[in-house]
């Protein structure tokens, strides 16, 4: 078995030590630090990008919050405006209504006055006509002109005792 040939041990061990040491130095001084640096740089870059993404997300959230706040403010403002306008309009409407009611009642009063006046005038005319008719009838019946004063008195008495027109 060639493995047990003691004469071959020394050159193998010597070359093993040489090659292994060379490889170890290569690894220790060159390869491992380089690979480690590279992996670290990559890790850092990934973390950087993650941080940036986090920041962007935060910014977006802030923007959204600001937008929502603005929207809420605008909505609140609009509601206030609507409430104000409603209040103002209902105030105006009430005022106008009150004015209208006042105007209408004034007109009604004026119209009633006119009616009352017309009724009085009519009554006066009737009175005069009645007095004339009564005087004429009495003259025809008695043949002499009655005293105008007593006729007027009698007519007034008769008219006043007569039923008044409905309404006022």
């Amino acid at each position: 078995m060639p493995q047990l040939d003691v004469n071959t041990f020394l050159p193998q061990v010597v070359w093993l030590v040489i090659t292994f040491t060379a490889l170890f130095l290569l690894m220790w001084r060159v390869a491992v630090p380089r690979i480690a640096d590279l992996l670290e740089a990559r890790q850092r870059r990934i973390e950087d990008n993650l941080d940036k993404a986090q920041e962007s997300k935060k910014e977006a959230e802030e923007t959204l919050a600001a937008y929502e706040q603005a929207m809420n403010e605008a909505r609140a403002g609009a509601n206030t405006h609507i409430a104000e306008a409603t209040a103002r309009m209902s105030g105006e409407a009430a005022e106008r209504e009150a004015e209208l009611a006042l105007d209408l009642s004034a007109r009604i009063t004026a119209a009633e006055d006119e009616i009352a006046k017309a009724v009085n005038d009519a009554m006066d005319n009737i009175r005069v006509a009645t007095i004339e008719v009564t005087a004429a009838v009495l003259e025809r019946l008695t043949g002499e002109a009655p005293a105008e004063k007593s006729v007027a008195k009698a007519v007034a008495k008769a008219l006043d005792s007569a039923p008044k027109p409905e309404g006022r």
């Binding site: 078995m1 060639p2 493995q3 047990l4 040939d5 004469n7 071959t8 041990f9 020394l10 050159p11 193998q12 061990v13 010597v14 070359w15 093993l16 030590v17 090659t19 292994f20 060379a22 490889l23 170890f24 290569l26 690894m27 220790w28 060159v30 390869a31 491992v32 380089r34 690979i35 480690a36 590279l38 992996l39 740089a41 990559r42 870059r45």
Partner: protein
């Protein structure tokens, strides 16, 4: 390979360039040449992979990074953060054994890990190294390692010798495991390859077996490199943390 040769002849050491310094034989043997080739192959692999390091790696770079991260995670899982300073050594051990095993799978190649003296030397370096690390770190407390905690004192005369023997046999098991796997696999391959010609037409059966066995041997090349590395890590963990 000529017929009639022993299946073990593939393991013969040939002095390609006989060199002697004083009385010391430092001839460049086929074994030494393949060690040099292994180191060159690893160097080329690393240089190719890291020639233009990019944030987004290419194929070669991915393989370099993959092997690095694989061993880095192994060290982190078995030893913890204290294992970081020893990572270059462990990575070297892994790559050296792995590439040595794989180059040995190339036909007409030589597997230097199939020689007990090579694996034993590496195992002894690991063994002496972790023992020195443990002695420096724990000083006299290192010897409590041979007396597991919670064991009644009366058991000590029995347990301590067992623990010491188990500790001293570590370089044996570490080196023999790798050496025997390589020796057995390559011998078996050669034996069945011999049947291919001897059986004539029926040689296709041993040929198919050799093909399958070659695949298995490549898996074993990875596995044994991994086992050697993980045991190194475990010994280092024992040295740093005792129990």
């Amino acid at each position: 390979m000529a017929a009639g040769q022993s299946p073990l002849s593939q393991f013969e050491i040939k002095r390609w360039v006989p060199i002697e310094i004083g009385d010391v034989d430092v001839s460049l043997t086929n074994s030494a040449a393949f060690m040099v080739l292994t180191v060159v192959a690893i160097g080329v692999f690393l240089i190719l992979g890291m020639r233009r390091p990019a944030i987004v790696p290419g194929r070669w770079q991915s393989m370099v990074e993959l092997s690095y991260v694989f061993i880095a995670n192994l060290v982190k899982d078995t030893v913890g953060t204290e294992g970081r300073p020893y990572f270059p050594f462990i990575f070297t051990v892994f790559m050296f054994v792995l590439v040595g095993n794989l180059i040995g799978m190339v036909p007409y190649g030589f597997t230097f890990t199939s020689h007990i003296i090579v694996t034993f030397t590496m195992a002894m370096v690991v063994f002496l190294g972790v023992t020195v690390i443990a002695l420096i770190k724990h000083k006299i407390h290192f010897f409590t390692f041979f007396m597991p905690p919670g064991v009644p004192l009366i058991m000590a005369p029995l347990l301590v010798p067992i623990e010491i023997i188990s500790y001293l046999s570590r370089p044996m098991s570490l080196s023999v495991r790798l050496f025997a796997n390589m020796l057995a696999g390559h011998t078996l391959l050669k034996v069945f390859a011999g049947f291919v010609v001897a059986l004539g037409l029926f040689g296709v059966f041993p040929l198919a077996f050799v093909v399958v066995l070659t695949g298995l041997e490549i898996v074993i090349a990875f596995l044994q490199a991994f086992v050697f590395t993980i045991l190194t890590c475990l010994y280092l963990n024992d040295a740093l943390h005792l129990h």
